[in-house]
Symmetry: C2
Subunit: 161 residues, 2 copies
């Protein structure tokens, strides 16, 4: 009989997280290689999460921090960098003088639109290579094994290429 925690025909347990991370990195690297070609060479992986957190409606730095699971100060610094790169702009909130809305520029919206399309294309590649049903099974399995709904990125440096 095989070992209950690591049967002979299966790899060691540590391969699973490595494979998941490698899959993630592969997709993210390909996304940014494409984005670089399509007019967004300066956009880094962490910026994508931040732009997604801001959304087309815009938001404040504090709310951004809540969505990303980081402090409002960290979110504010990220907004500073995105502002310097031309992806967002800050406007005063006329309703609430404390707030400063962080809003996507046309460049920022363009990055979001292109990212969505590139991700769809990459997923289609995977579906073609693995078969649509196996890919759906993979996604369903991951959904089952992970707490739903996070695009938190308190993993600095893990995807910094």
């Amino acid at each position: 009989m095989t070992n209950s925690t690591a049967p002979d025909q299966d790899g060691p347990g540590f391969a699973l997280p490595l494979l998941l991370f490698a899959g993630f990195r592969t997709l993210i690297d390909r996304l940014h290689a494409e984005l670089a070609v399509q007019g967004h060479p300066e956009l880094r992986p962490s910026h994508g999460f931040a732009l997604q957190a801001i959304g087309t409606a815009g938001t404040t730095a504090s709310e951004m921090g809540r969505r990303l699971g980081v402090s409002k100060q960290a979110a504010g610094k990220t907004a500073d960098r995105l502002e310097a790169l031309g992806y967002v702009e800050r406007v005063d909130d006329t309703q609430d003088a404390r707030r400063k809305l962080v809003r996507l520029t046309a460049h920022g919206v363009d990055a979001l639109v292109r990212s969505a399309r590139i991700f769809d294309e990459l997923r289609a590649e995977w579906a073609a290579a693995l078969g649509p049903q196996q890919l759906r099974d993979m996604e369903a399995g991951l959904r089952r094994m992970t707490p739903g709904n996070f695009f938190r990125l308190d993993a600095p440096g893990w995807f910094s290429s």
Copy 2:
């Protein structure tokens, strides 16, 4: 008329990398929650990769950097932090006066052994929840879609528990 890149029954393409990352994060978070209980509360995820790159045989900071894909300076700083935490020690190489061997302490080896066992247990949980074959399919699919040696595990001795 379904979109060719994102059929209606499938989620949007951007869900795939998020799910892969969520799976990775879930496993890593659970690993470190367990490690914290088992005497390694200070160990951070990046430290695990570094310890693995050092291996039971020990290595130099430069070689560490090559294995991890970072500069020798960055690897040296990581070794500094691991040394301060008691996971590694530095010894002079009697064969080559330029080199300083970074070697795991007993504490470092303990962390590696426990990590391997915890990963095996986590994989067994996934196998029980998803079925062994679907998990194997997931791993095989990921292996197919990712470049082979993403992280080199040249020192496989540490998972033989």
